[in-house]
Structures are given as structure tokens and as C-alpha cells.
């Protein structure tokens, strides 16, 4: 394989800088968030830096090969990731009551995170193969891809990891919309989703997951339990005020009011310390990142590349939006990390691989 030096100049430096800005904010915020954790603040920070290093190596590997070549291998990548998810279910490491991690040589890895970019690749490839010029995809066309997406979702729900399953399903819908499907397919999908809701509620969701949704609707249902954490998260963000309490001056997380304040509830730490101004700036960083991703998708004349870029963007958008809504008590508590900011190596690596795929699409968009 040869590396064409010119491609280096086609790297989207805007996106790279924007991404690094988000990662830097995340690392700084993590220092504050992990101060009160018993295992020592720097322990977690070092783990996160190690994950960043691994993620950057992954980006380099992703960039080295043409995304079309990678897309060609997507079914194998999918197979491997699915196998890993099944292994996790059988002999995964249990943390916080859930079996989500696979411990390899001391490093805990969460294969369901890897499923996010892999699913985008697989779906984009399969939909692209079935796409006929100027015609939307029929229900028959999307049957197999749908089944292939549902399989890991059910397994991930079993872990139980409602958040990741939701992200996968929602971004799958976004991609179908982007590629285009027939009206009858829309109708069937909508009907199917409507039918699925009671089945999910009854058979697949754990009592605590139900409690979280109910407690959003009725905060007084269990004020000392699930509702309580949401209220405390809200207080943390609100107490930041206009300017925030200042870096390292947050108090809410120190009291262990908020569970998972360094992972899923990381925004409560940021919002408390940086206030309204800081939060708006952070949102703008995200929005700018996502708009740039969309621009790359738009500027790519290759449909496969455009779909991949769009899929990744939708994954980031869905995670960002639900995560923040959850932190400010507008969405039920589900385990969805804030991309680039939350503590968690798998999530960071997964987001970096996604960003790598977008850079890859951008870099090779002229070469047909």
C-alpha cells in the first residue's frame, strides 16, 4: 500500500481542530469530575489519555485505507463486533449491575460502542448496494439490513444497555431517511415501531429503566430514588448560574449526589463550573463539529461516502442531544455518553473512529 502525500493536504483541518478542542475540554473537565473519586483522580485521567492514544492510532489506520475498501469489509467487521457482543453476554465483566465490558489484558472494553461506527458502515454499504438510480428503497430492500441491525440491539438491551440500543436504532432510522425509502416502507416502519414499544416495555426493559422514564414524567413518584438523581443533576447545572462556579469549584458531584457524574452525567459537572456562558460555548463547539460533518457529507458526490458521513453525524447528534437533555432533566436517564467529553475509553475510541471515517470520506471524495 502506498500513501499518497497529497492526501495529507485534503485532510479537513477544521474538523480535526474542532475535534481536538472538544477532547481538550473533556480532559480538563474530567480532572474536575474525578477529584472526588476514591481510586484517585489521575488514575482515571491516565486511562482516558491511554484510550485517546489508542483512538488516534485507530484513526490513522482508518485513514490509511480507502473508505470504500473498508466498507467492502463491513460485513466481516459487523460479524466480529456481533461475536464480541455475544461473548460479553456470556462472560463479560459486570460493573454497576450490567454486563457491558470485556476485559482484555486489564483493559475493559465495551464492544457495543464499537457497533456504532460498524453499523453505520454496514448499513451504508448494504443500502448503497440495493439503491437504484432515482428510486427510493422498498420494504423488501431494507428487510435484511433491518434484521441485521435489530440483532445487536436486542443483545445490547440484554446487557442491559438501553442507551446504546436507542442510539443504534435512531441513527439507523436517520440513515434510511437519508438514503430514501418508499412511503409504504415508512408506514410499515412506523407501525412496527409503534408495535414494538409495548413489547419493549413489557419484555425487554428492566424495572429500573421503566422507573427512570416514569420518574421523568412524574418526578414525585420516587423522590429519593430515580427522580432524586435527576433533581440533583438539575440543581447542579442550575447552580452554575450565568458565569459558573469556576473550574474545580463545583460542589454537587463531590457529595455523590449524582451517579455516574464522570460518565453519562458529565455535563452536570461542566454546567455547574462553567455556567451558562461556558455551556453555550460547548454547545457551539458541538454544533460546529456536526455542521462540518454534514458539510462533508453534502460535498461528497459518492453516495456511499455521503451515507457514511451522514450516519456518523447522526450518531454524534443523537448522543449529544439525548445526553444533554438527560442531564437537564428533559429526557429519561439512559446510559448515553457525551461524545469526546464523557469518561469511557470505548466511547472515546468509537467517536474517534467515526471522526476518522468522516475525514477519510472527505480526503478521498474527489477520487472516483
Amino acid at each position: 500500500m502506498h500513501i499518497d502525500k497529497r492526501r495529507f493536504y485534503h485532510l479537513d483541518w477544521y474538523l480535526i481542530c474542532n475535534g481536538f478542542a472538544l477532547i481538550a475540554v473533556g480532559m480538563l473537565n474530567l480532572v474536575s469530575a474525578t477529584r472526588s473519586i476514591d481510586s484517585g483522580p489521575y488514575n482515571l485521567l491516565i486511562k482516558q489519555l491511554a484510550a485517546l492514544l489508542v483512538g488516534l492510532v485507530a484513526v490513522a489506520i482508518v485513514l490509511a485505507y480507502d473508505y470504500r475498501l473498508i466498507a467492502g469489509y463491513s460485513k466481516y467487521l459487523y460479524g466480529i463486533t456481533l461475536a464480541l457482543i455475544i461473548i460479553v453476554l456470556i462472560l463479560g465483566t459486570i460493573a454497576g449491575g450490567a454486563k457491558r465490558w470485556l476485559t482484555i489484558a486489564g483493559f475493559a472494553f465495551q464492544p457495543s460502542e464499537l457497533m456504532k461506527p460498524v453499523m453505520v458502515l454496514l448499513l451504508a454499504t448494504m443500502l448503497h448496494q440495493r439503491k437504484r438510480e432515482g428510486e427510493p428503497l422498498t420494504l423488501k430492500d431494507i428487510m435484511l439490513p433491518l434484521v441485521l441491525i435489530f440483532a445487536p440491539c436486542v443483545l445490547i438491551l440484554k446487557q442491559p444497555d438501553l442507551g446504546t440500543a436507542v442510539v443504534l436504532l435512531l441513527s439507523c432510522m436517520c440513515m434510511l431517511w437519508f438514503v430514501g425509502i418508499t412511503k409504504s416502507a415508512y408506514a410499515v416502519l412506523l407501525g412496527l415501531s409503534a408495535a414494538c414499544v409495548p413489547i419493549f416495555w413489557k419484555y425487554l426493559m428492566k424495572p429500573y429503566q421503566k422507573m427512570r422514564i416514569l420518574s421523568l414524567l412524574y418526578p414525585d413518584l420516587d423522590p429519593s430514588g430515580y427522580g432524586y438523581h435527576s433533581i440533583q443533576a438539575k440543581i447542579a447545572v442550575g447552580s452554575g448560574g450565568f458565569l459558573g462556579k469556576g473550574y474545580l469549584n463545583g460542589t454537587q458531584h463531590k457529595l455523590h449526589f449524582i451517579p455516574e457524574h464522570h460518565t453519562d452525567f458529565i455535563f452536570t459537572v461542566f454546567g455547574e463550573e462553567w455556567g451558562f456562558i461556558g455551556s453555550i460555548l460547548l454547545f457551539l463547539l458541538f454544533v460546529s463539529f456536526m455542521l462540518r460533518c454534514l458539510k462533508i457529507s453534502r460535498n461528497t458526490s459518492d453516495e456511499l461516502g455521503a451515507s457514511i458521513a451522514f450516519g456518523i453525524t447522526s450518531v454524534i447528534f443523537i448522543q449529544f442531544t439525548i445526553n444533554i437533555l438527560m442531564a437537564i432533566n428533559l429526557a429519561p436517564v439512559v446510559g448515553i455518553p457525551l461524545p469526546f467529553i464523557s469518561y469511557g475509553g470505548s466511547s472515546l475510541i468509537s467517536s474517534l473512529i467515526g471522526a476518522g471515517l468522516i475525514l477519510n470520506v472527505n480526503m478521498r471524495r474527489y477520487m472516483f
Binding site: 440533583q232 438539575k234 457551539l284 453534502r298 458526490s301 437537564i328 428533559l330
Partner: protein, 600 residues
């Protein structure tokens, strides 16, 4: 040319902007419109970790009777963080409960290294009246709270006090040491007796509760709870029925008594008088009681049975007898003539019997406790042989009883004198040592071991109070098997002769303890009446009796000391009689009822 999905991208941008607007509006509402309220909420938001004290392990006697347990008590704490006006709270509390203001301040100061939310214990075991007073005035005493916590309780009061010991709050000096690094102010710790010796087993693991409190320190809700784990219980060899009998026999007397099973070393009873009330000492020590106990000139906190060193008097005579017989210096027929006195050096050593015993051999020497016989025997054997025999028996070291602070006695030797005083030994001193006076000092538990040594014909076991340690769920954590502490290789005939003579002491007319003989059991023993040489707190001689019973198959070995009690025969031997009677009669009853049960 317009890209493929231009319309869709436009929609995407709209959706992203919509999301941004929703998020910003919510933040505006939370952080700017409600920001001040939220900040107040976050400042008032305080979580406290409340300690839930673990109850200490129980202590059971050999028949399962509870000798130490826990009961709930009301303890008063002050949380400095919640105090609004320091003087109001401190003065109010001092006035309400008639406490010393300075004492409260000292206690609060001692906790200054701990977070201001740390509850400082001011007073423990409040009575109902005090609790009612505090609760009624709570509004005027911000920072004051009452907690219900387990408190050590000793159902038998002063009985067994020196064995059980007591617990009290860990002192600020102790807290500075490494040993107590796991303790916090207000924690109870074993200070004496088994409570101290087995602290690590008895102490439980405290639980904790995370409680959310409001600005006034009132508990709003419990967030989560970690239950405490009770301490392990001790099952001890003590027989409370026997212990109570001995305690009663010692009423109004000073002294000590140890009874054990010579076949295992298990301690069946241990008494020391005067005693203290461990319940009073364990309730945060009221200053008055502590002052009374620690200033008492009779030293009630001393365990006379393991820490009190006394001249053994004639009970020591078995040691020179064994030394001389074992080395063949005398035999059973070797006789000395006693005319009531013995002239040596430039003084006369008297026999207790003014008229003298006439010609006396070793058996009658022990039975009638002839001093002159032992003056002669002692001189013939020499102090070093007596010391060597004492060493074989184990009288020169600690017995190893599982109580803290045991003191070893002293049996002198020429080497000891040279080392200690830099002087040579005088033969005249040997004369005194032979009858258990002079530089001989032994504790009651050591003399009990002497009785066991003879009862077992040369074998002793380490005196052991705790039989086993049992976890709260019933799992046996540790069993203390008998540990042999002496297995002497000495003349069987010598020991048999001394053993038989001890039977004569009680059971033969003319024996010094003939008055204390029992109808159906052969008790063997030796009286002792020791001159108290130390500048006295009392007057008169110490009365000793060492014994084992039954003679044929010993189940008891004991030493009884009545301080300033007068004659061993009249003051101590009757107590030994009570012990033997109550223990062995009961045992026989048990055997009978067991047989009856078997027949049914």
C-alpha cells in the same frame, strides 16, 4: 448542480438549530432565571455520612449464660457545623444537663481535626428525663442530636469484673498512636480484661448511612445504608454458677482466687476483690466513679489473681520438698527434730507450733506444715535447687493466662541476687525462702498452676479463659485447644509422695485443713499463712490455700488468697471447700440426671 440531498441537509441544519435552541432555552431557565434558587439549593444540599455503631460481640460462660451483651443507650452528640451561636448551644446544654461547660468545650476541641460535620459525643447513656429535656429544647440547641446506640452491658455487675474488664471511649492520646488508627473519637475500645485482650474479635464493623440534611441539620432523607456487622462472641471456660459461689464467699474480703480444670487449663472461676462495676466504667466513665476507683487505696482495678504478687507462705513448701526429694537430698524417711524453733546464724527461726512437732519426716512436714522441717530441708537443698524446681513447675515466668497485664512472680536464686543487688546470697535467706517468705513472690494464678502441677503429676496447661470465638452467624472462628506449659521429667515417687501428703493436709486428723474436709470427696491441699512484709495497707497475715480435687481424678485446681485474712486454714480453706462442693456436687447431679435421662 445542486447536490443530491440538498433538501435533506437543509432539514438537518434546522433540526440541529432547533436542538440548540431547546437546550439553550432550558439552560437559560435553569441557570439564569432559576440560577439563584438552584445555587441556594446546592448550598443547602448536604449529605452526611452517619456512622451506625456495630454492637460488640457477646460473651457467654461455659453453660451459655450471657455475661456481657449490649443494650440500647441514648447518646448526645453535637455537630459543630450546625451550631449557630456557640455560646447559646454550649451554655444551654451545660445548664440543661448540669454538665461542665469547660468539659463540653474540651470535647469539641479534641475533634477539631475532623470535619465540622463530625458528630462529637458529649454525653452517653442519657436517662429518659434528660432525653426528654433535650428533645423539648431542641429548637434552642441547634447542633445537638441524640442517637440511640448499642452500649456494653454486664448483667452480673461487679461479678467477673476483672475477667471481663470494661470498655471506654478511646482517648485522644490513644488516637494519636498507630494502634488506634482505625478508631475515631467517641469509639469504644476494650480497656481491661477480655475486652482488651480480645478487642479485635469483639469489635464489630461499623455501618454507615448517607443522609441528606437540610440547612438546620435536620435529616431529610436516608440515601443509602450499609448495615453494621456485630462483633464476634466469646465463649469462655468460666462457670458462672461457680463464679457466683466464689464471689459470694469473698464478700467483704480482699484477695483473689483462681480455679481451673487441671486437665485442660480452662479457667472455671477467677475472682479479685475489691472489684469495680464495669457497667459504670463503660458508660463513658462518670468522672466521680473514675476518681473513686482510681484513687481507692485498695486498688480495685488491680486483678489480684493475675497481677498481685504476694509471699506464698507455706503453700510454697511443696517446691523445696520436691526439689530435695527429686535430687535425693532427702528421702521419705529423712527426719528432722522440731522443738518449736530453729537456730541459725545468730537468730532463731520459729515454727508456727510453739511446742514443736518432734521428729518429722517429709509427709508429716507437709500435713502439719512443720516449718523446722523445711528450714532444714531448704538449707540442705540450697536456694538454687529450689529455684530450679520452681522453674520446672513454671513459677518463674508468666503463666500465659489470656488476660492483659499478667505479672510474673519471683523465686530467688544466687544468680538473681548477684545480678539484682550485686551481693552474694546468704544461707539465712534460704531458710526464709523454704517456707515461702523472704524474696518469694507469687500470684494466685501461679500458685493455682502449682496445685495443677502436683494434681497432674508434673504436667500443666496454660490457663485459658476463652474457649472459642464465634462469628455472629454462628461460624466458629477460633478454638483454643489446651496448650501444655510444663511436662516435668522429675521423680515420680517424689511427686506421688507430695501429692499424697496434700491429701493428708485436708483428710487426716492433725492436718492443717482437717476442718475443711468434705464428706464424699477427697480434696487435697496446702494451707499457707504468709507474713505481709510490704508497708501495709492492712494488718495481719495473708491467708492462702492451694488445692485440687478430687484427689483420685482431679477436676479442679485452685488457689485461694484472702489478703490480711489471717490463717490459711481458717480463712481460705473453707472457700476452697465451698468451691469443691458446689462444683463437684453439681457435676455429680448432672451425671445422675443424665443417667436418669438415659434410662427413660
Amino acid at each position: 448542480m445542486e447536490p443530491l440531498n440538498e433538501g435533506k441537509f437543509r432539514w438537518c441544519k434546522r433540526i440541529i438549530l432547533l436542538a440548540l435552541i431547546v437546550l439553550c432555552m432550558r439552560l437559560f431557565d435553569l441557570q439564569i432565571l432559576k440560577g439563584d434558587d438552584m445555587r441556594k439549593l446546592s448550598e443547602q444540599n448536604r449529605v452526611r455520612i452517619k456512622k451506625i455503631l456495630a454492637p460488640r460481640g457477646m460473651v457467654y460462660d461455659r453453660n451459655g449464660k450471657v455475661v456481657a451483651d449490649t443494650r440500647p443507650s441514648f447518646n448526645l452528640y453535637v455537630i459543630r457545623e450546625d451550631i449557630r451561636d456557640f455560646n447559646q448551644t454550649v451554655d444551654g446544654l451545660a445548664k440543661l444537663l448540669r454538665l461542665d461547660r469547660e468539659e463540653i468545650i474540651t470535647k469539641l476541641k479534641e475533634a477539631r481535626d475532623y470535619p465540622s460535620s463530625f458528630p462529637v459525643k458529649i454525653e452517653s447513656d442519657l436517662n429518659m428525663d434528660q432525653v426528654a429535656k433535650v428533645e423539648a429544647n431542641k429548637f434552642y440547641l441547634p447542633g445537638v442530636t441524640i442517637q440511640i446506640e448499642p452500649k456494653r452491658n454486664y448483667p452480673y455487675g461487679i461479678m467477673l469484673a476483672h475477667v471481663l474488664g470494661y470498655v471506654s471511649e478511646v482517648s485522644s492520646e490513644e488516637l494519636k498512636t498507630k494502634e488506634y488508627k482505625e478508631y475515631a473519637p467517641g469509639d469504644y475500645v476494650g480497656k481491661f480484661g477480655l475486652e482488651k485482650q480480645y478487642e479485635q474479635y469483639l469489635r464489630g464493623i461499623d455501618g454507615a448511612q448517607r443522609v441528606e440534611v437540610d440547612a438546620t441539620g435536620r435529616e431529610v432523607r436516608v440515601l443509602d445504608t450499609r448495615d453494621p456487622i456485630a462483633g464476634n462472641s466469646l465463649h469462655i471456660n468460666i462457670d458462672m454458677d461457680l463464679q457466683v459461689a466464689v464471689e459470694k464467699a469473698f464478700e467483704g474480703k480482699k484477695g483473689g482466687c483462681v480455679v481451673s480444670d487441671p486437665k485442660t487449663g480452662g479457667v472455671l472461676a477467677l475472682v479479685s476483690r475489691p472489684a469495680f462495676d464495669p457497667n459504670k466504667l463503660s458508660s463513658g466513665v462518670t468522672k466521680d466513679y473514675w476518681a473513686q476507683i482510681s484513687n481507692d487505696k485498695t486498688h480495685p482495678l488491680q486483678n489480684r489473681s493475675t497481677q498481685g504478687r504476694f509471699p506464698p507462705g507455706s503453700t510454697f513448701k511443696m517446691v523445696p520438698a520436691l526439689a530435695a526429694l527429686d535430687k535425693g537430698i532427702i528421702n521419705e524417711h529423712t527426719s528432722f527434730s522440731c522443738s518449736g524453733g530453729f537456730f541459725f546464724g545468730n537468730r532463731t527461726f520459729k515454727c508456727w507450733k510453739k511446742g514443736g512437732h518432734g521428729s518429722v519426716a517429709v509427709r508429716r512436714g507437709i500435713v502439719e506444715s512443720c516449718d523446722v522441717f523445711f528450714y532444714n530441708t531448704g538449707l540442705k537443698a540450697g536456694v538454687d535447687r529450689i529455684h530450679d524446681m520452681a522453674k520446672i513447675i513454671g513459677l518463674t515466668k508468666l503463666t500465659g493466662i489470656d488476660l492483659p497485664g499478667e505479672k510474673a512472680g519471683l523465686v530467688p536464686s544466687t544468680e538473681w541476687k548477684q545480678k539484682t543487688f550485686g551481693e552474694k546470697w546468704y544461707e539465712g535467706e534460704t531458710v526464709s525462702v523454704a517456707i515461702g517468705q523472704g524474696a518469694v513472690w507469687l500470684t494466685p494464678v501461679q500458685l493455682m498452676q502449682l496445685a495443677a502441677f502436683i494434681a497432674n503429676e508434673g504436667v500443666t496447661f496454660k490457663p485459658q479463659i476463652v474457649k472459642r470465638v464465634v462469628a455472629p452467624q454462628g461460624k466458629v472462628l477460633k478454638v483454643f485447644e489446651p496448650v501444655m506449659s510444663a511436662n516435668a521429667n522429675i521423680s515420680k515417687q517424689a511427686i506421688a509422695l507430695v501429692r499424697d501428703a496434700m491429701k493428708g493436709v485436708v483428710n487426716e486428723p492433725g492436718g492443717t485443713a482437717y476442718a475443711s474436709r468434705l464428706q464424699n470427696i477427697n480434696m487435697s491441699g496446702k494451707t499457707g499463712t504468709a507474713q505481709s512484709t510490704s508497708a501495709g495497707l492492712g494488718k495481719g497475715d495473708h491467708a492462702w490455700f492451694v488445692a485440687f480435687a478430687p484427689h483420685e481424678n482431679p477436676a479442679l485446681a485452685m488457689a485461694v488468697l484472702v489478703e490480711y485474712g489471717g490463717h490459711g486454714a481458717s480463712a481460705s480453706a473453707p472457700i476452697a471447700k465451698i468451691i469443691t462442693q458446689s462444683y463437684l456436687n453439681r457435676e455429680q447431679k448432672e451425671v445422675k440426671s443424665a443417667k436418669l435421662d438415659a434410662h427413660r
